[in-house]
């Protein structure tokens, strides 16, 4: 080790010299950084050491924090500060004022058991092999305040980080990092296609697109190998923060992220459920191949009276794979007319377009008399994309259905499989945002203060798109790549005022440029009642004016009380309660008429009227009238001189004034935590948490459609009212989701001489139940005897449970060398009815699934031995 150190001296000194030469001469001041202003990259760690620096915290200083008193002091709220680690004074580097200190922890991990368990691997790339637990190197010049720090860890090539920071206290800081973060989506996936991860999913040789039977597909699905679906984030960043000129501090950061991998995706070839042996519902795999570059710039000036801050955020997203084509194995047939005119066997999905984002914000605050402050913020942002659009379909030949020359619902694909079929070739999509925020605060006396705030925010979607095909003069699109119109005559997706077959087709022909303006007014006052109690009241009026939504105005009024007492039998109690009431303008259940072909000239309304868009009594939960109350109590109790007991009780009750739609939500929970640190050598923590939540909705099955025993399109279909012929009360149903969550944890750390034992156990148990009531079986999707019998009153319970036991045994051989044995044993249980049966087969008629879902049970162990060296 010493030999190693000797060798290392020269390169480190050289590096430092370089750093110094580059940056060490700045003569200015700058601040603590703007890290908490930028989204992301605040935390570097991994599943083995989530803190990212645990080895640097050990061992604790047996002398604690003071010779004058025992134990540790508490935060103003009453939580104990942990005992500080033993100070590492560092070692001199060369002859100058530089010192360095470092920790290297590396070793070998072995992963045993169900190492591929999905929830074990979700965000951690556990692998058997050598790992770098931590390499931390800190260089510091005690005289000039210049420093350089390096941190790195490596669990695997997909789960690692390296970061270098350097700068001078109070002057500037530079940072560069590289990190890889894994995200496993599924380890239980069985995609049948070739080309997973690309834009083209093709069927294996044993299957023929558009001509395979469900049995053939099932046979292939049963034999394809298991695959892992997931992606990796590789991120690099470089940033600088420091003084620009006099009191002007600037920061500049650039980050670049590459996301590559796969995610589960859909693929629709029209319904299968009403049309046995027809249609296709496919779970596919999409590629992820993103690159995002973010640029953040800020400049600020902090004066005694004025504080000024200007920030620019730019984000540039590039998707290298903008579509997914997939072959569907299933044969389609038209439900009426001459059989099989069309040969639709391919599906397509667009993937996210590139986009550019710019946001410029100015923040200004000024101190006022009466301990007052005025804060103003204004921002302007824009997000834009102008990607070339895909053609409406990829089909070739003829699509649609031929019944008779007078009922020819076919369409030549050539008229639609080209971008010439579009009204515009690229998206021209743009949303602009604007923000103004003003707040004024006064504390004329120490016992009373008030504040007022005003916030205005607007989102303006400037995208305008008309689905119009200049080649045919028709409006609309090709639904589901031609499959829908090739199964059901006339459901192609086309409106044609000149063709009697299509002139009553009510289809969306324009995009809906959802936008909104939100204005908030806030008034508040707070009182200090004695030295230890304070009370605050805040009233907020929030007016949201959405565009093209069911309401033109939504008003939310909210009053909030909060009360803090720092000595309720010695405890600090924070209590808050708020009550809110939301109402608004007239509710228009169908605001989308202007975006449908019914608004176009030449549209012929059917004699029986258009079917109601939706039931008129439905209220969307983001717009409906609502009352809400929320309460929260946080108690921090200093228990003796070495323990803290803290608990939280919280709950909310929301009631929505809606006959149909979301009706209520509620959450009730509590946590208790006990922290104990009798000596620097021993700490203990125990934790319990429970939470229950409930959500209730109501919905109503329409009485039309074959699934309801009625022919589609009968008199009365235009009546949107609850209780009417289309939405009879008999078809109403109520559903609730009830969830309960339990958490428990215990961790103990104890040092005996040179040895330390760390033990922690964590339990998570989440249980979900979806149940329902219905007026009559008219509500049900399936009303045959088997369907009714299976309906019962709810779904099987969902479950997610993990037990994790971590054990660490560290031994310090001497002050520079330590050995750590590490072990983790984790078990989990999972069930989710969405995946019920998928373990047996992924194929159900014309439905083909890829993901079997998380493992029902797993147990996995990690053992490792780590060598820890103080550098």
């Amino acid at each position: 080790m010493f030999a190693l150190k000797g060798n290392r001296m020269t390169p480190t000194a050289l590096t430092l010299g370089l750093l110094l030469a580059l940056f060490g001469t700045r003569e200015a001041l700058a601040g603590d950084t703007s890290g908490t202003m930028r989204v992301g990259d605040m935390q570097f760690g991994n599943a083995l050491d989530p803190r990212g620096w645990t080895p640097m915290l050990q061992p604790s200083d047996p002398d604690g924090m003071s010779y004058l008193h025992a134990g540790m002091l508490r935060t103003p709220t009453g939580a104990l500060y942990p005992y500080p680690p033993m100070v590492d004074p560092g070692k001199p580097l060369g002859q100058g004022d530089w010192t360095y200190a470092g920790v290297l922890e590396f070793g070998y991990l072995h992963v045993g058991g169900d190492r591929n368990a999905e929830y074990f691997r979700q965000y951690a790339d556990w692998r058997s092999g050598a790992v770098l637990g931590l390499l931390a190197l800190d260089f510091e010049n005690r005289k000039t305040g210049a420093y350089a720090e390096f941190r790195g860890d490596h669990l695997s090539g997909d789960d690692q980080f390296y970061r270098l920071r350097a700068g001078r206290y109070g002057s500037y800081r530079i940072e560069g990092f590289y990190r890889d973060m894994p995200h496993t989506v599924s380890t239980n996936a069985y995609p049948i296609w070739n080309g997973v991860g690309t834009t083209d999913l093709t069927l294996p040789a044993r299957l023929v697109a558009g001509a395979s039977t469900p049995a053939q597909v099932a046979a292939v699905s049963a034999t394809v190998p298991r695959r892992t679906i997931g992606l990796n984030r590789t991120r690099e960043g470089l940033s600088y923060e420091g003084v620009l000129y006099r009191d002007w501090i600037g920061s500049a950061a650039i980050t670049n992220e590459k996301r590559t991998g796969t995610r589960l995706w859909g693929g629709s070839m029209f319904f299968n459920y009403p049309f046995p042996d027809n249609g296709g519902a496919l779970e596919t795999v999409r590629p992820v191949d993103f690159r995002t570059t973010d640029i953040n710039l800020s400049v600020r000036n902090v004066g005694k009276i004025w504080h000024f801050l200007a920030t620019y955020n730019g984000s540039f997203f590039r998707n290298h794979k903008d579509h997914l084509n997939f072959e569907s194995p299933f044969a389609l047939y038209n439900v009426a007319g001459t059989p099989q005119v069309a040969d639709i066997k391919n599906g397509q999905s667009s993937l996210e377009p590139d986009n550019d984002y710019h946001n410029l914000r100015l923040d200004l605050s000024r101190e006022l008399k009466w301990s007052g402050q005025l804060t103003l913020a204004g921002a302007w942002g824009t997000m834009r994309q102008n990607d070339a659009l895909l053609p409406p379909t990829t089909c070739t030949g003829t699509g649609g259905v031929f019944i008779a020359p007078t009922a020819d619902y076919t369409f030549p694909c050539a008229n639609w499989n080209t971008t010439a079929a579009l009204s515009q070739r690229s998206a021209h999509a743009r949303i602009d945002t604007g923000l103004f925020d003003a707040r004024v605060t006064f504390h004329p006396t120490p016992v009373f203060g008030w504040h007022a705030g005003l916030r205005w925010y607007r989102e303006d979607n400037k995208t305008r798109y008309l689905s119009y095909n200049p080649l045919t003069g028709q409006y609309g699109f090709i639904s589901e790549n031609g499959s829908q119109g090739s199964i059901v005559p006339g459901e192609t997706g086309i409106f044609d005022p000149n063709n009697p077959l299509y002139r009553s087709a009510n289809i969306p022909v324009r995009n809906v440029p959802f936008s909104y303006t939100d204005s908030q007014l806030e008034l508040g006052a707070d009182w200090q009642l004695g030295r230890k109690t304070s009370l605050g009241v805040t009233y907020t009026y929030d007016q949201n004016q959405p565009k093209y939504r069911e309401r033109k105005r939504v008003d939310d009024q909210r009053i909030k009380f909060d009360w803090v007492n720092r000595d309720v039998v010695g405890a600090t109690v924070r209590l808050s309660w708020e009550y809110a009431k939301r109402d608004g303008g007239k509710y228009n259940y169908d605001p989308f008429v202007p975006f449908y072909s019914e608004s176009l000239p030449g549209f012929v309304t059917p004699a029986i009227g258009l079917p109601a868009y939706t039931v008129a009594d439905m209220r969307k939960y983001d717009l409906s009238n609502r009352t809400e109350s929320k309460a929260r109590v946080i108690v921090t109790y200093p228990w003796g001189d070495s323990a803290t007991l803290s608990t939280t009780f919280y709950g909310n009750r929301d009631h929505y004034d809606a006959l149909i739609g979301r009706q209520s939500t509620s959450t009730t929970g509590a946590t208790v935590q006990w922290d104990w640190q009798p000596t620097p050598a021993t700490t203990m923590n125990a934790y319990l948490g429970v939470e229950g939540s409930h959500m209730g909705i109501s919905n109503i099955n329409d009485a039309d459609n074959s699934d309801n025993g009625n022919a589609y399109g009968r008199i009365g279909q235009a009546n949107p009212h609850l209780g009417g012929p289309l939405y009879p009360y008999a078809n109403q149903w109520w559903e609730f989701d009830r969830e309960s969550n339990r958490n428990a944890g215990l961790s103990v750390s104890h040092a005996i001489g040179r040895a330390r034992v760390d033990l922690s156990y964590n339990y998570t148990g989440s249980f979900g139940h979806v149940g329902y009531n219905y007026a009559t079986i008219g509500a049900l999707a399936y009303r045959d005897a088997a369907g009714v019998a299976a309906a019962s009153s709810g779904f099987p319970d969902n479950k997610y449970r993990t037990n994790t036991l971590d054990l660490g045994l560290s031994f310090r051989v001497n002050s520079n060398v330590g050995v750590r044995l590490y072990g983790r044993y984790e078990t989990g249980a999972f069930s989710d009815w969405h995946y019920a049966g998928l373990n047996n087969t992924l194929s159900y008629d014309h439905r083909l699934y890829t993901d079997k879902g998380g493992q029902l049970h797993y147990s996995v162990s990690v053992v490792g031995v780590m060598l820890s060296l103080k550098l």
Partner: protein
């Protein structure tokens, strides 16, 4: 009677010799801290049987005087001293965290109860009557206000404004072990000077309190120590 006299003589002899020895080898003794350090940070005030202590104090009186006022200035006065402080000192001598040629031997034989009783006994005695201290002296200034230019904190913070022990305000924050801090008023100047010197050199470093005093004594010059000692002894 004879044994008491010879003991007294031995004490006198030893106590004059030991400082001399220390003075001859200051460098060596500076870092000769005891191996174990008594952590007093959780020390609670002690209780003991003063009456029983009176019965056990016969030997002590040889040096510390029959009424706890020492027979010679190189011995500390014990009358009215904090019982907890006295107990802690006996315990330190007993466990060799504080060493003294005489006291180490004397304390070795004491049981924990003995120490508590003796401490309580001496604490119950009437302190040496107050003298006339020069409140304008440098010693008074150091004791009451310290000297920021030299980084000397005022002694009264822990030893009390009247030199009769600290007078803390109640608080829920972790507190110093107030009872373990000695009263200094009327203490022998010679004794005080030696102790401050020991703290400074680290020869008396066997407790967490000694570590505090080490930091404090580091700020004191020899003249400062003399000034403090003469102020306190005359107070």
């Amino acid at each position: 009677m004879t044994s008491r006299t010879s003991l007294l003589l031995a004490c006198l002899l030893m106590s004059t010799v030991v400082p001399g020895v220390n003075a001859q080898q200051p460098a060596a003794s500076t870092f000769a801290a005891p191996t174990s350090v008594l952590d007093l940070r959780r020390m609670q005030p002690i209780s003991g049987d003063a009456k029983a202590g009176a019965g056990k104090a016969a030997v002590c009186a040889a040096c510390h005087g029959a009424q706890g006022v020492a027979i010679a200035p190189n011995f500390p006065n014990l009358a009215g001293q904090s019982a907890t402080y006295l107990y802690v000192q006996l315990k330190e001598f007993h466990d060799s965290q504080r060493t003294d040629p005489v006291m180490t031997g004397q304390a070795t034989a004491l049981s924990d109860d003995d120490m508590r009783d003796l401490a309580s006994y001496y604490a119950s005695l009437t302190p040496k009557p107050a003298g006339q201290a020069d409140t304008s002296s440098r010693g008074a200034q150091l004791y009451l206000a310290g000297d920021p230019t030299q980084g000397i904190p005022p002694c009264q913070a822990c030893h009390g404004p009247a030199g009769l022990g600290p007078q803390p305000h109640p608080s829920t924050a972790p507190q110093p072990p107030w009872a373990t801090f000695p009263h200094l008023r009327g203490q022998s100047g010679l004794y005080l000077t030696k102790q401050l010197d020991d703290f400074k050199r680290g020869t008396r470093a066997g407790s967490s309190n000694a570590k505090v005093m080490h930091g404090v004594a580091q700020t004191l010059s020899d003249e400062d120590m003399q000034a403090l000692a003469s102020y306190l002894s005359s107070w």
